[in-house]
């Protein structure tokens, strides 16, 4: 047990150690051996150019797929499956873990469910409140009075505070709610394998075709219980009202998810997603002591099924709120905290390696590949912007006259300039794509906002600077120092136009 703890601590230190090691090594090289530093930066710049082209192409492909399936009637597709002898007798269990979100956030989420093109008598909605939240009972009563009869069942649960072995995380609340839902399903005589569970952030508004799409993919998947189903998260709920900075960050997050949806071998669940309820029960529900429950649940299932577990991308959107605040600085702080919470997903690394060490079924090569992908993605996240923005110019600044007389000293800024030109060209593609996923302009918003939303992309370098790498480095440093993060959800508010 003591040994396991030590191994876990070492594994927790590795990502932060690597990220800081890379940064410090490059700074030292810039001071003492600027030529070596410049060579590494040129390699990294070239890698980043290739990566930018590759990922932008994937984004275009994902976008094309999303656009193609945009208006598809998935319920009709599900009915057509009957001809192939596949009956749709699925129930959808939808859990909304609620922290402090008010009715202004929760109502639209439930209304979106109500407006879904899917039989409501097959939908069970669980509003999972935190007992410690003073307004929970009151909000629950209001929502029950409004939505009780709209679905097959509408359940409110109240997660008690301070349960043993639990941290104050969303996963703990969702697990409590899922266990209560299991009791309800048993009472109704519904089997676990007939239920698909969706765990949504409280502000998640599903597309009207979401459950049809989910059902279709579940029913047609060869091993439906050995897969999670990941929609594309977009932040359209208040995107027209949000300030430029926050809007750009969230659009970029959506784009990242779209790119990830094309890289199936690396694809991991994120934020709002769905899975088999049977699998959820079998693997022991969401972790109750980890912040990144959305991704850990995938790794739990991956380990449970001996590596035979995957994420199926759904090219259908779930829309959430852009996190922003009353002032620019508070918005930056809020975005920073949110991204740091996402970057806390680095806690998956010690979890996964510990799991791999105790697992015999998964081939070694798969273990190495998945561990490397996970570690590489987090370390790259923590260092890329720092290398490009801060360390890139260091050899020229610190290298002195000698370095600047060298051919490499002359070529380094040219190659860095080429990188920024490529990034600029790629960002033009992003601008076009961002226009396509945008919802229609609401009444009361000036048409000039269209122009602003194009011009605001010049802020990308500034955004890269602030929240490109720093939140990830911050999260990894905290993990390495053993200062664990509690779930601190982004407080979202709706702005009435």
């Amino acid at each position: 047990m003591q040994k396991n703890k030590k191994v876990k601590r070492v594994l927790e230190i590795i990502p932060g150690f690597l990220s800081w090691g890379i940064i410090i090594l490059l700074i030292l090289l810039a001071i003492f051996n600027p030529v070596s530093c410049a060579i590494i930066i040129i390699v990294f710049d070239f890698y980043w150019i290739i990566r930018t082209v590759y990922l932008t192409t994937l984004l275009v492909m994902a976008h094309h797929k999303l656009y193609r399936q945009k208006d598809k009637n998935w319920l009709v597709e599900c009915h057509r499956l009957q001809a192939r002898g596949i009956l749709n007798n699925l129930y959808h269990l939808i859990i909304f873990p609620v922290y402090k979100e008010g009715l202004d956030i929760l109502r639209p989420s439930l209304r979106a469910l109500q407006e879904c093109n899917y039989p409501k008598e097959k939908m069970i909605v669980v509003m999972a409140f935190e007992e410690r939240n003073p307004g929970a009972r009151e909000n629950s009563a209001v929502l029950e009075s409004e939505f009780k009869d709209k679905f097959f069942r509408h359940l409110s649960t109240f997660h008690p505070d301070g349960l043993e072995a639990e941290a104050r995380t969303k996963g703990a609340n969702a697990t409590w709610a899922a266990k209560k839902a299991k009791d309800l399903l048993q009472a109704e005589g519904i089997k676990d394998e007939e239920v698909v569970v969706s765990c949504f952030d409280a502000d998640t508004c599903v597309d009207k075709e979401y459950f049809g799409c989910l059902s279709y993919h579940f029913l047609t998947s060869p091993k439906p219980h050995q897969a999670s189903y990941q929609p594309i998260p977009v932040y359209n709920n208040n995107i027209w009202q949000a300030p430029s900075f926050a809007r750009l960050v969230e659009i970029s997050s959506s784009f990242c998810q779209m790119i990830e949806s094309m890289r199936l071998e690396k694809f991991v669940t994120f934020s709002s997603h769905s899975m088999s309820f049977k699998t959820l029960v079998d693997i022991g529900y969401w972790p109750v002591d980890m912040v990144s429950d959305d991704s850990v649940i995938y790794w739990k299932a991956f380990l449970f099924y001996g590596g035979n577990y995957r994420v199926i991308p759904l090219y259908n959107t779930v829309s959430m709120d852009v996190a922003y605040s009353s002032s620019f600085l508070k918005t930056i702080e809020m975005q920073y905290r949110q991204k740091r919470r996402w970057a806390w997903g680095v806690e998956n690394f010690p979890f996964l390696i510990s799991g791999f060490l105790n697992e015999r079924q998964i081939p070694l090569l798969t273990k190495i590949r998945r561990s490397f992908h996970l570690l590489e993605s987090h370390v790259t996240w923590a260092v890329w912007a720092i290398i490009l923005v801060f360390i890139g110019p260091l050899p020229i600044i610190l290298g002195g006259a000698f370095f600047n007389q060298m051919a490499i000293g002359y070529n380094l800024p040219k190659i860095t300039g080429l990188l920024f030109n490529f990034t600029f060209a790629a960002s033009l593609v992003w601008v076009v794509l961002s226009r396509i996923i945008l919802p229609p302009r609401p009444k009361g918003i000036s048409w000039m906002k269209n122009v602003v939303m194009i011009l605001e992309w010049v802020m990308v370098p500034f955004i890269i600077l602030i929240i490109g790498s720093l939140p990830a480095l911050d999260a990894q440093t905290h993990l390495a120092l053993g200062r664990y993060m509690e779930f601190n959800p982004t407080h979202k508010t709706k702005r009435v136009v």
């Binding site: 390699v43 290739i50 590759y54 492909m61 890289r263 060298m406 051919a407 002359y410």
Partner: protein, 315 residues
């Protein structure tokens, strides 16, 4: 595997191939190496970086015209000496013997190509005898050949116009012209006279005020400065430093008596401080040159007091 995943796999392996084939080329080129496919060896090379003002000059390297025009980078040059020549139409050519060292860059980035004489323009539109540049106001002032009329123009010679007459009693020719800090007046002076002129505002043909002529017979005026109040004048003569009001009959105040007949002076207009050099005979009987500072700002000296007391700083 779906079609998308097949395309992605192709893209991925293509990207990997581009990276690993492109990287050696980029790195070797960045470090100053050139691959010779005949010998299958890398040769060390150097770079010449060229920037000219104006841009667009043709580049001749050892007599051979290159495709690029300045600004340009000449890469992959084997180490050695090269004859570099730049040519731009209507400009003087520029040439240089450049020594290229391996893996190094020769930065020739401050080259100015000077235009040929055809660029010389005549600015005056009347016969003139003298001119002065006023950098602060971007003006050129001209004196006509007889020394009686003052003109002005901008730096391009445009807006050339007469701005005033030199007072009849003023003996040609003035040494210098100085515009007052408030830009409403200007003074010209010769060896014994100072004339203060009020230039005409644009479009106005009448004088704003008649010129003022100050006479200092028996003294050699070396320099005159405007005080920051644009009313007092600081005179440096061969005998003394004086301050006077800009009035015809005002009595100048003698601030300093000078030992040296030619004193170097400099006036710092922002703080109204005069720096000057004068000689002083030491105890050993040898004459030494010293530099003095005389503050004339309003905080240090009230002019009214100064005039009333007629104080001589050195006395």
């Amino acid at each position: 595997m779906s079609n998308e995943q097949r395309i992605r796999a192709v893209l991925f392996y293509l990207s990997v191939a581009v990276f690993f084939t492109g990287l050696p080329a980029i790195l070797s080129s960045s470090l100053g190496y050139k691959f010779n496919p005949r010998t299958l060896k890398f040769a060390k090379t150097g770079i010449i970086s060229l920037k000219t003002q104006p841009q667009g000059a043709s580049i001749y390297l050892d007599g051979k015209l290159l495709n690029d025009k300045t600004p340009a980078t000449i890469n992959e040059l084997l180490p050695g000496s090269y004859n570099l020549k730049l040519e731009l139409r209507a400009h003087y050519p520029w040439s240089f013997q450049v020594n290229v060292e391996p893996r190094k860059v020769v930065r020739l980035e401050k080259i100015i190509l000077f235009p040929k004489r055809s660029n010389i323009e005549q600015l005056n539109q009347d016969k003139v005898s003298r001119f002065w540049l006023d950098k602060d106001n971007a003006r050129i002032y001209y004196l006509n050949q007889e020394g009686s009329i003052l003109y002005e123009s901008d730096f391009k010679g445009e807006k050339f116009k007469e701005i005033g007459n030199i007072p009849p009693g003023f003996i040609p020719f003035p040494k210098e012209l100085k515009v007052s800090p408030d830009k409403e007046k200007m003074l010209i002076f010769n060896a014994h006279q100072i004339a203060v002129l009020y230039p005409r505002p644009a479009g106005d043909l009448s004088y704003t005020q008649p010129p003022v002529l100050l006479d200092f017979p028996g003294q050699q005026i070396n320099n005159v400065f405007w005080h920051s109040d644009s009313y007092h004048l600081v005179l440096v003569t061969d005998r003394s430093i004086k301050v006077t009001e800009m009035q015809a009959k005002s009595s100048p105040v003698n601030l300093v008596n000078l030992n040296s007949r030619i004193s170097e002076v400099s006036y710092e207009a922002n703080s109204d401080t005069l720096y000057f050099m004068d000689s002083q005979t030491g105890e050993d009987g040898v004459s030494y040159d010293n530099i003095y500072k005389l503050e004339l700002n309003k905080k240090a000296v009230l002019f009214n007091d100064l005039i009333r007391l007629r104080q001589n700083a050195k006395e």
